[in-house]
Amino acid sequence: MDEALSTDGEDEPPVVDERAARDELEESLARAESERAALQARLDDELEASRAAFETYAAAEGRVAELEGILTGTEAVRARAEADRDALEARLPVELTAAQQRHDEVLAAAEQRLQAITDLLDRQTQESAAERAALQLERERDAQRIVELEQRLKEELAQAASHAEDLVEEARNAREELRPRAARKLAEIQAELDTERQERTALEARLEALVGEHAELEQRRALEETSAQARIAELEPSLEEARTGWERSWGELDALRDRLEGTETRLLERERELTLERDQALQRVAELERSLSEAEDGNEVVERALQSVSADRDRIETARRVLEARMTARDEAERAFLVERELERRIARSHRLQLTRVERRMTEIASGLGVALRRLDAPGTPQAESSDDPRAPSSGPRAPARARRGSETQSRQHVADQAATAERRAPAAQPLAPTRPPAPDPPPQAAPAARIGARPPAPKRRPAPIPPAPETRTMVTGFERAAAGFPARPALEVAGETITFADLHDRAARIAATLQRETPTADPPLTAVFAHRTSVAFAGVLGTLMRGHGYVPLNRTLPVARTRTMFERAECQAIVADAESAKQLPELLDDAPYPVVVLLPDVDDVAELRAALPAHVVLGARDLAPAASWTPIEVDASAIAYLLFTSGSTGTPKGVMVSHANVLHYVDAMVARYDIDEHDRVSQTHDLTFDVSVFDLFVAWERGACVCCPGQRTMLNPGRYVRDAKLTVWFSVPSVAMFMRRLGSLKPDSYPDLRWSLFAGEPLPVEVVRAWGQAAPASIVENLYGPTEVTVVCALYSWDAQTSPDDCEGGLLPIGRPLEGLGMLIVDEQLHEVRPGEQGELLVSGPQVTLGYWRDGEKTAAAFVVPPGQEVVHYRTGDLVRRPRRADGPIAFIGRRDQQVKIRGVRIELGEIESALRDAAGVDSVAALGWPTTLVGADAIEAFVGSEDVDAVAIRTALAKRLPVHMVPRRVRTLAQLPLNANGKIDRAALVKLLESE
């Protein structure tokens, strides 16, 4: 296209003209065309319009024709209408006349009717007037009747008034008549009165006479009094003289005592100086030994020091002898004084009491001096200490330090301690002391002749080297000996930690030293240990005993309120707690009436507890005294070793006072029987609040064995622990074995390392023993029996798969025979021994019978008795047992005596029902209760069986065949497990609650 344009460009003008012409032509053509088209269109339109006009015209013509037709029609109609109108107009006058006529007729009728109605109205008006007149008449008649009635009433009133007047008159007449009679009667009474008045005058006269007599007597008495007073006045000077003499003597006594005390102080000071000198000398010796060239000089120095010490000792000895002589002289003077002043016996008696006390104190001071002097007897030779000190070989460098401190405080501590011992022993031991024999003999007729001896049936492996026993043994001596003998051996495994004897001794000594520092004069000498399965629990018990205190175990897993009752009743002034138990301290010590010393050996930061316990002394790990500052203390064997609260039947826990002597007898019997040595590993399953724990700790430590304490949760199923910890001695409540059996942990040969399997605390079922025996085939299974009141265990029975089944009664193992040295008596209600084969309550006597209940003389007197025909105190166990038929047979446990109930007055032993239940159900865990309880007993028996795989109805049927009807349980309930209490025994209170909730 572009190319064509460029070509056209050359001859443009001609082309343009041509094109324009063509365009113009075309344009005019187009215009013409469009004009033609427009004309055509107009033509068409006009044509169309004319066609339309024509059509309109045609239509109009049609319409005109139509209208003309209609017009014609209308004309016809009009014609007809006009004809009609004409006709009507013709008829109108006629019709009008007729209508007028009809109107007149109706009007007349209406007027007639109006008249009739008016007439009727008139008649009715007349009738009502007549009625009104009649009514008026009646009203007038009524009015008249009222007037008449009023009249009559008036008349009757008048009559009544006159009658009343008559009556008054009559009464007046009667009174007139009576008056003379009354006057007569009055006169009679007056006469009687006169008589009485006369009698009274006579009596008054006699009284006067008596008063006179009395006055006379009074006078005589006054006279006598005066003469008595005169006599008293006469006596007064001699009395005064006597008193002055006494006071003078007392002053002398005081002076003597002061001098004695002064001497003692000087003695102590001298002693301290001497000790210092001795230590210096010792140091010198050491120096000299290191440097041989100066040996001779050094020896001379030592020699001189020793000579000076010896000289000082002689001087002290002389002073002591002088003092003793003076005391003897004083005693003689005092005896003379007492004889001379016989007149003042009453005054003198009270003074003498005081004197006795002073004397005792003097003796104590003297004996304290004796101890101090004995200590001085071996100065400068540290080896001499080791005879008393079992730790010496392992603690050589510490010995001089302890000796130094010891010499400073020992004598005073000893005196204070002896006084405390005397004080605390008096109330506790008094009820028992008079009846206790010097050496308890077995009761002459004690049922079992055979006794548990030291014969251990278990394989004896090697003799244990035991150091000689020290002079005074307490519960903790065995541990101290073991700590000296086996310092590096494990003493304790707890909470994943293994602690050696030396380490445990050290921890205990820190606690003991701190208690000595903080509670120098604790009274009562008891300290609470509030710790659970931690090293603090064990160090706390040992530390308390090393302090010379008895321990009071508390348990954080018990309700705090119960713990608090125990703590408050024991009146402890110190408590050793572990970190976990310490959380309960604010609640425990909430309003303790005195400041308590709180030791927290495993707590470093005590700021928070200090803030929570502002009234108390809170000491953390860093505040403890060093172990070296502990001073050993002599404690009497009759002092309380531990105070253990057991549940009392009344709901308040009873504190059982167990002495060191009690524990030692028990521990010795156990150690001998079970042949414990330092290679043994002993389970520690019992909480410290359960006295069986004394075995776990003190029987083990007595011979250097290791105490292995599993955690609380491990106790649920301790099977693996027994293997992992390589235990050789197992001891638990039977319930733990039942749990293990239930959880599949008593498969045969599970525990080949166990030598001994011991159970105590509740009846031991045969079934459990069999399963355990297969799981631990190398061990001997024994059932240990004993109430806390006779120190943990007093009898035991060794299981023998061949012969034992015959000994068992009611599916339970017998409790066996008494430990060596203990006596047992099986008695009836009157405490007379029952015949062989009969049931009775078990009484126990011997050296394990404890001191009784803490501050409860009444309960102590009820439970610790001397039965008729016996000479020694027996503890009433409350346990029902069967006296063996054979003299050497075992005692069988039947049940608790206090499970006795009365049903409709008939006495029932629940133990007997439980025994029958066990047989019938084939299950050991059973309980029978008297329920519902009444004032005199119970209405019926309810029974529980701890298994859901038994037929309750069948059990009841079996019991009905065996027991009298009143002993057959009303219902036998089955539970998967019977509830157990904290010690793993069947919780009867929980069962009662279960019944109450129904």
């Binding site: 955690g711 609380q712 949760r713 491990t714 106790m715 649920l716 199923n717 301790p718 099977g719 693996r720 622990y721 749990f739 239930r742 959880l743 599949g744 942990s745 498969k747 859901e948 998967a976 497990q977 509830p979 157990l980």
Partner: protein
Amino acid sequence: MISAADVRGFVLAELHSELADVGLTAADVGDDLDLIDAHVIDSFGMLEIIAAVEAHFSLEIDFEELDPDQLSAVGPFSHFVAAEADGA
């Protein structure tokens, strides 16, 4: 086939009121909650739960292999029971 969740659900439903007593609901309970440490139940209650679980799922379980420290922990217990049921 029993899952650990089944066991867990059953245990928590059984302990509904015990959990409520210590202010817990099943939703609050993590696998590491120890029923005994949390004071929901005691050791005796643990045995009851074991008995109930065994009865409910028709099982008899040998718990010897379960670490006693884990016996009362919700998660480990449930897993152990499920695994034992599976193996049986």
